[in-house]
Symmetry: C2
Subunit: 349 residues, 2 copies
C-alpha cells in the first residue's frame, strides 16, 4: 500500500497532534458541482451512478480536484443495505428514495437476509478499491453506512417521512419486531463497514440522520444501542493503522455524553450544537467533527470566512477537531462559496 | 364575564398550586377527528374554515365534546399575519401553505404594512369572541401566533422549506433586511396577540416552529430576541386575571435557559427533551408544557398510558406542569387513542 501523504484527518479523529485542522464536507461529491451533474447525466440515474465503480470514483475525486480537502468520502447512498436485502431501492424525482417492498411485521423481518457485502454489494467495495488507487495516498478515504435506526425508518415507511408514524408505531406497538429488524441491520452494517475497511476505507462514519426524531430514552434503546453494537464489531485496524469511527446523529446534540460512551472515536455535530460546549461535555473521550450551518454557504464569502473562524475558535486550541459542515452541502450552493470555506479553514485552522 | 369554572391551566402556567395536572393537545381541533373533516368539507377549504368565525368556533369546540380537556385553543393558522400583510396565503394539497408574493429584499420589507388586527383580521377576533361565548366559562381559551422568525421563513421561502436556504441567505447576507422584517413582524404579532387578549384569549402561545433550524447564536439573534420583544409588549392582564404567555420552539431543547430568561411564563417542550432535566435547568423561572411524542398515539392504548405516566413522573411533584404533546397530533391517529391519553392524564396527573 502507498504511504499516506496527508494523514491529518486520521490523526485529528484520534486526537493526536496535528499541524492544522483538517477539513472535508458532507456530500462534497454532489449536485452543487457542475461536473457532478454532468457525470450523473452520463450515468442516466442516481442508482446507475452509485452502482458503477468507475463513475462513483470519478465523482468522489471531483471535489478534490477543486479544493484543498483533507479526505475523500466514498460516493454511495445510505440505502445500499436495504436494497441488497431485496427491498428494491429507486428514486422518484422530487420525492427522494422509495422502496418497492416495505417491512411492517415480524414475519417481514424474519424473511430479510443479512447480505454478504462482497457478494451482494460488490459495486461498493469495487468503488472503494478504485478510489484508493485514484487517490494514490494523497488523502485518506472515508467509508460510511446509514445507522440501523435510519435504515429502518426508510424500510418501514417505504421512503422519507415527516413524522415517522409507521416506524414509531412499530417501535412502541411491536418492539420485538423493531428490535429484530434493528439487530439484523446492525449485523449487516457491521459486516458492510468491515468489508469497506478490508477494501481500503481508512475511517468510517455512521450516519444517523433520523435518530434526532426520537425522545432520549427511545434514542438510546432504538438507535444508539445498535450503533454501539456496530462500533464493538468493527475491525478498527487495517494496513497497520487504526481506523477511526465517527458517529453522526443529526439533532443529537442533547445526547453527546451517551454517544461518546459508545467507544466511537469521534462525534459529528450538527450546527444547532455549540462546539465549545460540546467539547466541554465530552472532554477527551472523543474528537469532534463539524459544525458550520450548510446554509452559511449561501452568504457572501466574507461572512463565510467569519463563520469558519467562529467554529474554529469555538473548538479552541488543541487537537481533536475535524472541520465540516453540520449536514450535507445543498445543491443550490455556488461552488466558489464552498471554495471560500475550504480556503478559510486552511488559513485559520 | 362568566366566572371560569376550570382554571387549572392558568394556575399551572403561573406555577400556582393545582389539584391535578391540566392537559390540552396541540392541533386538538384537527384532521384526526371525523367531525373536523366534515366541517372542513362544509367550509370548502382550510382558508374558508379559518376565516369563518362560526365554523372556527365549531371545530374549536369539537375536541372538548369528546375528551376531558382543560383548555380550548383558537382554531386558526400561524400565517394569518403575512396574509393580512398582503402576501396571499393559499394551500396546495400535499404541499402545505404557499404565498403568492414573497419577500426577498429591504425594498420588499419596507412595503409591508403592520396590520391593524381588528380591521384586517376581524375573523380571528370574532372567532375568539364567539368561542368564549360557546365555552361559557367551562375552560380557558388559548390564543396564539407564529413567531416572527417562523413567519419570516414562510414569507421569504414562499412556503415550507427543508433547508431554509433563502431566509438564511438573507439573515447572513443582508442581516439589515432580515432584522427589519423581523422587527415588523414582532410589532405585528404583539398587536395581534393583544387584540386576541382584548377579545377574550386567556393565555397565549407563540409557536416558533422553525427556530430549531438555527445555530445557537443565530437563534438568539433572529428568533428569541423578537419573541422577547413580543413578551415585553403584551398586555398580560385582562378581566382581572394574569394572561400567561407560553413560548414553544420546536427543536429548542438546547436553549431552555435563554428562553426562560425572556420573561415568558411557560415553555413548551418537544419530545426530544427530557422534561425532568428541563425542569432542573429552568428551576422555578417558568412552567413547562409537554412533551409526549405525538407518534406514541399510534401505539396500543396500554403503551400510551405508560408513556403518559412517564412524562408526568418525569416532571415530578409540585405545580408548573401542563401536559401536552411535544408537537401537534397527526392526522392518522385514531381518536380513541387521543382519548386514552386524556383519560390517563386525568388518572395519573
Amino acid at each position: 500500500m502507498t504511504e499516506l501523504k496527508n494523514d491529518l484527518l486520521l490523526r485529528a479523529l484520534l486526537r493526536q497532534p496535528v499541524e492544522r485542522t483538517p477539513v472535508w464536507m458532507m456530500r462534497q461529491a454532489g449536485r452543487y458541482l457542475p461536473e457532478y451533474r454532468a457525470t450523473r447525466e452520463q450515468a442516466g440515474s442516481f442508482v446507475n451512478l452509485m452502482k458503477n465503480p468507475e463513475l462513483a470514483c470519478e465523482v468522489t475525486m471531483q471535489p478534490l480536484r477543486r479544493y484543498p480537502i483533507d479526505a475523500a468520502i466514498l460516493f454511495s447512498d445510505i440505502l445500499t443495505i436495504p436494497d441488497a436485502m431485496g427491498l428494491g431501492l429507486h428514486f422518484v424525482t422530487g420525492e427522494g428514495p422509495k422502496f418497492e417492498h416495505v417491512i411492517r411485521s415480524m414475519a417481514d423481518v424474519e424473511k430479510l437476509p443479512v447480505p454478504d457485502p462482497e457478494a451482494e454489494m460488490p459495486y461498493v467495495m469495487d468503488a472503494v478499491r478504485t478510489i484508493r488507487k485514484a487517490l494514490n495516498g494523497d488523502v485518506p478515504l472515508i467509508g460510511f453506512s446509514g445507522s440501523p435506526w435510519t435504515l429502518a425508518t426508510y424500510m418501514v415507511e417505504g421512503g422519507g417521512s415527516k413524522d415517522f408514524a409507521k416506524i414509531k408505531a412499530m417501535a412502541y406497538g411491536d418492539p420485538q419486531a423493531a428490535h429484530a429488524l434493528l439487530d439484523k441491520l446492525a449485523q449487516s452494517v457491521t459486516s458492510y463497514l468491515n468489508a469497506q475497511i478490508a477494501a481500503g476505507a481508512q475511517a468510517v462514519q455512521i450516519f444517523d440522520t433520523w435518530g434526532g426524531a426520537l425522545s432520549g430514552p427511545m434514542y438510546q434503546e432504538f438507535s444508539l444501542r445498535y450503533m454501539q453494537q456496530i462500533v464493538e464489531g468493527l475491525n478498527r485496524e487495517n494496513e497497520g493503522r487504526q481506523v477511526p469511527v465517527i458517529l453522526f446523529t443529526k439533532g443529537g446534540g442533547q445526547w453527546l455524553e451517551a454517544m461518546a460512551a459508545t467507544g466511537a472515536d469521534a462525534l459529528g455535530l450538527d450546527w444547532t450544537t455549540d462546539i465549545s460546549q460540546a467539547r466541554q461535555r465530552v472532554g477527551d473521550k472523543v474528537a469532534l467533527q463539524g459544525n458550520m450551518d450548510p446554509s452559511i454557504l449561501y452568504a457572501p464569502t466574507g461572512t463565510i470566512r467569519q463563520e469558519v473562524k467562529k467554529v474554529l475558535d469555538g473548538f479552541g486550541e488543541g487537537s481533536g477537531h475535524v472541520f465540516n459542515l453540520g449536514h450535507g452541502i445543498t445543491p443550490g450552493v455556488n461552488p466558489e462559496h464552498a471554495g471560500a470555506m475550504f480556503e478559510a479553514v486552511r488559513e485559520f485552522g
